[in-house]
């Protein structure tokens, strides 16, 4: 791996959150990296820790209930976990931006759209109000809102869902970030609008060279946009690979089942493969391999031995004992 090209490097990140029923280790020893100009996918089902990972990078965990308890997040050479809130504020919204799933709650309802973009610009750039306004309208144009002047003077509730998501992207792009975190950016949108937003994200990467960390549960989005993908299950990365390799040759039983359980446009109408059981409760995660209670290939030692990430191919890693030479013989 070319170290110069790595923009974000998350190493052994552990993040906890306090809930009514106990402390949850939502992110448990997670490591991944995002290279310059790359779109990386972080996929998993609800509760797997993908949003907690995103919030950790932004240092936006809801303290004191949630906090980073271990690991490091290197961004352009500095460890974000060690920064003070003030230092972090200089990066957040400037070099790293985030777009959330629900733009209606993420945007300020009592502030005009234009003002919200201006706010993001003047927070980090020494420009006068007029220049910021001009730039705000330019940004609206660049995210595909042709009548930016009109939209800038509207409140968020006045515009459609797709439009709001574009506005949020404009706010995120206000300071030309090098890393854009997109947390389920199209989950609430209609198919035709989703396509517009996805192409916009693709275009932002192409034109500005922005790296994107795409967080989603939708494997279709990953196939559409991502160069590499990390699969999360119960707080851990269980597999990662270049997108094509992962879809063509998934090694982890969870990835395999996940891919098979999605109805496809071109597949016959057989019974869909399903993953037995439910996502485990992370207050008391399963021992050994976290997937063992649901795994169709489970062996006795899976319940006790915690698997490590094992290299199965160039840039392709999986967390399964079936690929571990010390145990793989048991499945022969």
């Amino acid at each position: 791996m070319d170290k110069d090209k790595v923009l974000l490097e998350v190493r052994n990140l552990v993040a906890c959150i306090e809930t009514g029923s106990g402390l949850v280790k939502a992110v448990d020893d997670v490591s991944f990296d995002v290279r310059k100009g790359e779109i990386v996918g972080l996929v998993g089902e609800s509760g797997c820790g993908k949003t907690m990972t995103a919030l950790s990078i932004m240092r936006l965990l809801p303290e004191p209930f949630g906090r980073i308890v271990g690991g490091s997040i290197y961004f352009e050479g500095q460890d974000l976990t060690k920064l003070t809130e003030e230092e972090m504020r200089a990066i957040r919204g400037n070099k790293i931006s985030i777009i959330f799933q629900d733009p209606l709650t993420a945007l300020n309802p009592i502030m005009k759209i234009g003002e919200q973009i201006v706010e993001a610009i003047v927070a980090h750039r020494k420009v006068d109000k007029n220049e910021a306004k001009r730039r705000a309208i330019e940004l609206l144009h660049s995210v595909g809102i042709p009548d930016g002047e009109v939209i800038a003077s509207q409140y968020p509730f006045r515009v459609s869902g797709g439009m709001r998501q574009r506005v949020m992207i404009a706010v995120a792009l206000a300071c030309d970030p090098v890393l854009l975190i997109a947390d389920e950016p199209t989950t609430n949108l209609d198919v035709s609008i989703q396509a517009q937003i996805l192409e916009l994200i693709n275009e932002i990467r192409r034109k500005r060279g922005t790296s994107v960390l795409l967080i989603t549960h939708n494997l279709g989005l990953v196939a559409w946009l991502c160069d590499r993908v990390f699969v999360m299950y119960a707080g851990k990365i269980v597999e990662h690979a270049p997108t094509e390799a992962l879809f063509a040759n998934p090694y982890h039983p969870y990835t395999q089942l996940l891919l098979k359980s999605v109805p496809k446009l071109d597949s016959p109408r057989d019974k869909l493969t399903t993953v037995e059981g439910e996502v485990p409760n992370l207050i008391k995660p399963p021992s050994g391999c976290r997937f063992h209670p649901r795994c169709p290939y489970v062996k006795e030692f899976c319940r006790t031995v915690e698997p490590a990430l094992i290299k199965v191919n160039t840039d392709h890693y999986t967390r399964c004992l079936m690929q571990d030479s010390r145990y793989s013989g048991e499945w022969k």
């Binding site: 089902e45 035709s192 549960h217 109408r269």
Partner: protein
């Protein structure tokens, strides 16, 4: 009407008045949510209704259950015209139809135990004595893959997928002939979604119940439906057998949607040429004149904004609402270059 048809809908229309004022209400305009749709649902089969938000698919579902009063059109259920049946005479229809909603968190009463939720339709319909009902609840729990002990629990003790199973058990309580399933898997995680889709399929196989399956997810609709109707702004723009619609779509809207559905296959995604529609779905308050899709259609000509198309039969069982479907199909008319 053919023997195997359960529901027949003709020119069904629902206009919602938009009013102004509180005491002296004044109708200022109407939302044309459903505007002259026609389709059939066969006994024991599934009709998939796809479309984006605001296309009128949920309204259509509620209309055929008479949960909303139609403005115009005819609904026949098992040969009987139910369009104008007075509420008192709807009891029989209520026993033979039911509905499953999208959000299993708000569709189940949080203060009721699962037993009471599932048995409520039977109690209302005077279906039998307490012992018979208890037996039926257990039978239903078995059918949807829940444990009998679950009957004494409350909805909050279940996950989203399990709650949807409870909602399905309730819908099946009186052995209906038709279930309207309104986005029943949209709120669920991928792996849970697959289980609920399988459950819908296996129930249909065993009980021969018909579904009107409403969804915005084309992959799900493809998987579960025998026939598909694609809605856009209150109109059905394409209607036909599932495989035909998905393999040889004729309407530009359907064609576009099929190129932009994210599918979990990087190879397929790379090789396809997405037709990305510009703009957004217009307001049903003041739908565009002529063909409602013309504002976003890559093939639109001037005539499209002047003349309203009618649903025409393009191939056997395959209907399309487009003035130029033939020209597009033959390659005479290509998309506008942008």
């Amino acid at each position: 009407m053919a023997e195997n048809v359960l529901v027949e809908v003709k020119d069904l229309t629902k206009h919602f008045p938009v009013t102004k004022g509180i005491v002296f209400k004044k109708v200022i305009t109407t939302v044309r949510a459903v505007d002259g749709v026609s389709f059939e649902i066969e006994k024991g089969k599934t009709l998939g209704l796809v479309g984006e938000s605001g296309s009128g698919k949920s309204t259509t579902g509620k209309l055929i259950l008479r949960l909303l009063e139609p403005t115009a059109g005819i609904i026949r259920f098992d040969g009987i015209d139910i369009t104008n049946l007075p509420q008192d005479d709807l009891k029989d229809l209520r026993k033979r139809t039911s509905i499953v909603f999208q959000d299993p968190y708000s569709s189940l009463d949080p203060r009721k135990r699962v037993f009471d939720i599932i048995s409520e339709p039977m109690v209302i319909a005077n279906w039998g004595d307490r012992r018979k009902i208890a037996e039926r609840v257990h039978e239903l729990l078995d059918l949807v893959g829940l444990r009998r002990e679950d009957a004494s629990k409350y909805p909050h003790q279940f996950s989203g997928g399990q709650r949807q199973r409870i909602a399905i058990a309730r819908a099946l309580a009186l052995s209906p002939d038709l279930i309207v399933a309104d986005e029943p898997v949209s709120a669920l995680d991928v792996s849970v979604q697959a289980k609920i889709i399988n459950l819908f399929s296996s129930i249909q196989e065993r009980l021969r119940v018909a579904y009107l399956f409403i969804s915005h997810d084309l992959s799900v609709v493809r998987h579960i439906s025998d026939k598909v109707a694609v809605m856009y702004l209150g109109k059905i723009v394409e209607y036909g057998p599932t495989d035909v619609i998905f393999e040889q779509p004729l309407h530009p809207y359907t064609k576009s949607l099929l190129t932009v559905v994210p599918v979990p296959s990087p190879k397929l995604m790379k090789n396809r040429n997405p037709i990305i529609l510009r703009g957004e779905i217009p307001s049903p308050i003041n739908p565009p004149p002529g063909c409602r899709f013309h504002t976003r259609c890559p093939y639109a000509l001037k005539r499209c904004s002047e003349e309203e198309p009618h649903l025409v039969q393009a191939r056997p069982h395959h209907f399309v609402l487009c003035l130029f479907w033939k020209e597009i199909e033959e390659g005479v008319l290509g998309p506008a270059v942008r």
